[in-house]
Amino acid sequence: MAEMWISMGPQHPMTHGLWTLKVKVDGETVVDTEPDLGYIHRGVEKICESRDFTQITTYCDRLCYASANTWSHAYIYAAEDLLEVEVPERAEYIRLVAIELQRVASHLMWLGAYGPDIGNLSVMVWCLREREMMMDLLQELGGSRMHYNFPRIGGVKRDLPYGFAQRARAKLKLFLNRIQEYEALFDESTVFLVRSQGVGYAKPEEMVNHGVTGPNLRAGGVNYDIRWAHPYSVYSELDWAPPVERSSIKGADCYDRYRVRVEEMRVSASLVLQALDKMPGGADTYHEPEDPMILAKAPSRAPEGTTGAHHFEDSRGESMFYIAGGGEGRGKQPYRVSIRSPMFITIPYAAKCMIGYKVADIPAIMGSFDPCIGETDR
């Protein structure tokens, strides 16, 4: 068979979003790949240069639409670093609850999409059924189902509603039971194991050099996690450890990346349960939205020359915001907002990892890296 270029995308079931993967195929084996991104480049960095600091949060929700909370919180930490704001303890706990619930929802969305990538359709429906529960909880906090606009500079928009802790505990316990049902369909199905083990190898040192971080890196047997190595928020007060998968000698393959994310869902669920118990002021008390317990006073202007940067553990890797202050409106707007998208750097590496495998492995490998194109194109 002569080698031929197949273009997979931009609308393609494998791409989980809008991008093209040009694949050079010799028969069934992949010989060369070339990703082509930028289809939904909305120019968020340019828009942010003419918006106030609180308004930018709404755009950061829409960066990666599968995990909106993690992205708006990443921006807020960088903005608080810029404006030097001290966040009250209770607000940090509420933020942790929101971030970890969002991480569980994002991983469930990934697991639901990874099933049909390899052929099993019932997992999609099961995972989305659980994600509904997480979205109910996040809707109580943020007001809508996908984009919450929940964090504010110096704290959070509103306190936990009445009965939130009870419902959260019940739903998370049910979810922790439900994971075993997914594992029966994935871990205990020879077909899945044969399709995912030994496919898409990646060594940790090579991954770090290529800028790949997050669950994809931890699948290689290294416990590097921004919440662990550079602790922020109240992660250091809770009892948890980043899940690490024991990969095969040749490096992390699709199965390890799947295992790490399933473990991470369990860790995040337990983090939320601990945070609800340890919440200063108790999870069942309620404070008015502007209460100093949940929102600190924050300056709205950043003078010329001030900068703020913060690394953040997003559900797909290390996301980061770098903000240079001193834009128009005498500093009310930033001069430059730079966004590090983990998937913008991981997708080219995943495309390289596919070389040598079969056409049928492309969705398996690309799906295991959990691409989210909203954040990739910004």
Binding site: H12, V31, L121, R167, R195, G198, K250, I355, G356
Partner: protein
Amino acid sequence: MTSSDWLDVAGWSESFSNWSMDNVHDVLPSGDIDMQVTIPSTWAWPEPITMGPIFNMQSGFASIQPALESFMHATIMCTVVFGMMMTTMLAIPYIERKFIGRLMDRLGATTTLRSLWVGESGVTAGEWWNQLPFGMGAPIGWVVNALNSTWGNSHELETVARVNNRSYHGYWFLLPGFFQAFADFMKFATKEHIVPKNADKVVFEVAPVIILATTIMVFAFVPFGPHIYAANPELSLLFMMAIFGIAPLGVFFAGWASNNKYTLIGGMRSAAQLTAYEIPLLITVLGVAVLSGSFNIIEIVDFQMGQDEGNVWNIFLMPLGALLFLVTMIAEVERIPFDMPEAEAELVEGWWTEYGGIRWGLMFAAEYMRSYAACILFALFFLGGWEAPFQHTLSNLPAVGGIFSTVFSVIPGLIWVLLKAWLLFAVFVWIRASLHRVRTDQILEFGWRYLLPLSMLNLVIATILRLQFWTGGPWDLWVPAAVTLVSGGLFVILAIDEDEEALEIQRRPYSTQAVVKASPGSHRK
């Protein structure tokens, strides 16, 4: 004496066509009709020339009457079998939709705990029976509460199912959604037919014809009941398997002709997979023929029924063969887990992508027909065709036997064949809901490396059973019992219990193919 029941469609059609042909024969004028013309001799030709026949309409007709009768009989039987197949096939998509809806728990999210809020605002789902006029619904309410308290969960704050009565879609016995497949087909028939620009036009049109024709011809040899078959040649099994194997050719044509890279890959995958699984399938079917001693499907079923002394179904004699037949048939009809040619994830629709309208609809129907044929064949080969389960033992029971035998004689064999086939299709759907898609090279490797030797082994077992342990009449009881127990035990040992020390080491094997390690720029070297 071959098995038979009152639904003797073949006999009726035979007698009807004889009766009608005889009537035609009697209606025809019986006298000779002289159409001779004689031209008197003239100078040009000495003797007078006589031309034209003297014929008798009746005797002429009598000579061709048997051919006409068999032709009429064959047409009637073909239409009856095809019509029966198409109507009973409507149940197949219905089973798929309803069963997979529950397997995938897709019927509405009542599992989330949002229903926790039930009771807080004092709202409970309405008791629909209270809507009935004049309080007629009250007794239903009592029954509900009684049954619910015995079998149901406790009353207070019961998690609520959606009980408000909105079943204007019809109760289950009205089979809401049964004719959805029919409506879909009509929709396909009205859709536009698009031929890709520089597709291979002729092959593009021929491919669906090949697939559909061969699939329908398979049903010519599949008997639905002792007397319901379109054709019953001596070697019907051989014919049927031969025709069943032609479809991959059409699939490959379709893949090639659509001038689309994805369909090309899909077509090649399908060709490879179907050829790889044709051989184990044929050997397994050969095993069945060997065990039942004949290549005629009706005789195979009769052998299992044992000419009214009662005999054991082949599944108890050849469980390995049944499992192999199931796996190879799933691969033949390209359902998950052997779904590669039509893999959504990377090939979108595989070799179907460029077809639209009635051609796509027909090929989709052909795929369901092939699955339906596979289920019926499994029922005929292994589950004793049109014999009710335990028919012989039940009808010979001392006291109750009479009732059973009358009941079995009332129910035509066709019903049992259909029930078994639908049950088999439910197993197909169950497998579809729980397994992933195996990669093409792994399918081929699994086919050549595991299925082929296993089907050989199955053939060996069948021949040994047939030669050594078969004593002319029905099997003596210990043979099927021994075979089933041995294979059941093997299945439990092989497939159910844990292999502790393998789990201990947790050593994970590498994939079977040698892989060039992907490093940046390695492909450019």
